[in-house]
Point group: C2
Chain length 352, copies 2
């Protein structure tokens, strides 16, 4: 038996191939200056010994882990799952792996995750912290001395950022509805104070404002969180004396609850009520009529953030932080129609 218990190292390969350490390393790293003869011998020795590269040693010496860190609040949210998948795919093409961490909106974990990214010497990280306004998280981000891209968060940090232009498409949706005669347009939102929600509300108000109208607070239905059941709150909304004739709503499970609540009230889309969803979840794809939506081109968003990150990796921490805005898309579908002719009422029966 040649080797000891442990895995064979580059050294064993060198000995077996009758070449030096350096040559083996050159073959592994596909560096030009190596004769076909040596390459062949090395490759053969590696195969014979079932040699496996030691990534830790490589990282230690080369100061690059070939790993990108992603910190999202929750992969269980399809948006982040999709983003992660695209990131992974694109980075894999270049030999990078992507390390994902869910912060679950916990600021302490976010700080800890950042610290692990730091000690694991990520070549770059892409983060969307749940706590934009938490000073300690902000400080932790600021302190990172590796390339960082912040994804769709309003953080006052000197880091590169990719931002989704939520307000724009929401406003578009609003104009469409208003111009079809809608005035009582409700918006089912979550109470989270993070950028996506805040910017959408901005767009909602901007839509009204652009037509000389004012947003009414009672039409903004706030859920405790975006994963909370929305059925009851929406049902209450639909049962009001003057129920809304149109509804903007969060996507994912909130949209499901909204659709079920509408159905349960015996209302028809778009005859009785128009609906626009933030994001278009898979489950809604076969819904008839199709649900109008406000979305982002995720591939584009990913590409922009990768470009930013790669540039930063190349050019170092110097230079002003860059900011890229990704447009949002209002997709008009059958779920939006003209306002009902008659002002809708709760029920013909008067309160007893």
């Amino acid at each position: 038996m040649k080797s000891k218990a442990g895995n064979p190292s580059i050294k064993d390969v060198a000995t077996r191939a009758g070449v030096s350490l350096g040559s083996v390393s050159r073959v592994i790293n596909k560096i030009e200056n190596v004769s076909p003869e040596v390459r062949k011998r090395v490759l053969q020795a590696m195969a014979e010994l079932d040699y496996r590269l030691n990534h830790a040693a490589q990282t230690l010496r080369s100061r690059s882990s070939r790993t990108i860190g992603c910190m999202f609040t929750d992969v269980t949210n399809p948006l982040y799952a999709k983003l992660y998948r695209i990131y992974e795919e694109k980075f894999r093409e270049n030999g990078y792996m992507v390390l994902l961490a869910n912060s679950l909106n916990n600021p302490e974990w976010e700080i800890e995750i950042l610290s692990m990214f730091q000690s694991r010497r990520m070549d770059g990280i892409i983060i969307a912290p749940g706590n934009e306004r938490d000073a300690s998280v902000l400080a932790a981000v600021e302190k990172m001395d590796l390339p960082v891209v912040i994804l769709d968060r309003d953080m006052n940090a000197k880091k590169d950022q990719v931002l989704f232009d939520h307000a724009q498409a929401v406003k578009e949706a609003m104009l469409n509805l208003i111009d079809q005669g809608h005035r009582e347009i409700a918006f089912v939102v979550s109470g989270t104070h993070t950028r996506p929600m805040l910017r959408r509300i901005e767009g909602y108000k901007a839509g009204f404002a652009a037509r000389g109208l004012k947003a009414r607070a009672d039409l903004l239905v706030k859920l405790p969180s975006s994963t909370e059941p929305a059925f009851d709150l929406v049902t209450e909304l639909l049962q009001r004396q003057e129920r809304p004739t149109a509804l903007l709503t969060l996507g994912t499970s909130v949209l499901a609850d909204v659709l079920n609540a509408i159905e349960a009230q015996g209302l028809r889309i778009p005859r009785d009520i128009s609906v626009v969803s933030m994001g278009d979840p898979d489950f809604a794809r076969s819904h008839r009529p199709r649900i109008s939506s406000v979305t982002v081109d995720l591939n584009l968003a990913v590409q922009e953030s990768i470009d930013l990150l790669v540039t930063r990796m190349r050019e170092g921490p110097g230079g002003a932080p860059r900011r890229v805005m990704v447009p949002t898309i209002f997709s008009l579908q059958g779920s939006c129609g003209p306002v009902p002719a008659v002002t809708p009422r709760k029920k013909p029966t008067r309160k007893q």
Copy 2:
């Protein structure tokens, strides 16, 4: 200025604290034998220098990366997203990070991912390959010389496995339906030849068999894949002369399509048709009536696999592979009812 350009190392900390390398290491690793005085000085020096542990060096020397690898087909599938989240949470408690990789059912990637797990010296891996029957994937798994747990796949490998007992709860569901008078029970499945699907079909057939009935091939509706739109195929099914009175179906987006198709046909659940879903996706939670489901306790499944993995990490590769079966749960809800009194027909109108 004390240090050079690079990050401060344990050495810098030692110098600054006026102690030796070893002492600093002991403090970092929370080893007992260290006086309060030394500990204090070290901690202070670390803070002052803004010291960051180098994980690569730690891994190289200690031969443990404190990282667990997870290979799933696709985090975009809520099942895997949920599993990953639970794994991450449980492992984090012990200072481990979890490295996730999506194989997207591509055998070559699966092999490459396994190889990266190997070179990155994962302390253990949990995998659910998309290609149970691919010989090269099987060989790659077999060759792994680190602790492996295979999750819900029928692979003939000498590795620990956690298996979901799909057939059991599906059979339960079938018995319930049959005993309520149903005979024409369809099953919307995907054409993938992996364990979950195969075992469920087993349970489907076992249900019929237990009541002296035989499964009919024409009631098994095969989708190209579980992410493919199912609306048209299900609509076709529902429009048959003798349409099924009950329907088992994949969850996630397939269930959405099924519900929409049922609705589009003007059928009511459970009056006209009973429905049972494999898994209960979030979007269906507010559906009325609630959808009966066949599920697995994911927390339990995760715990079992972690137990297996930890045991293996402790005891080494020796010893026979273990196998744990996790029960499935049939949850009866309002979507299941007695078979309609009259044999259903497509429509009263005869073919013209």
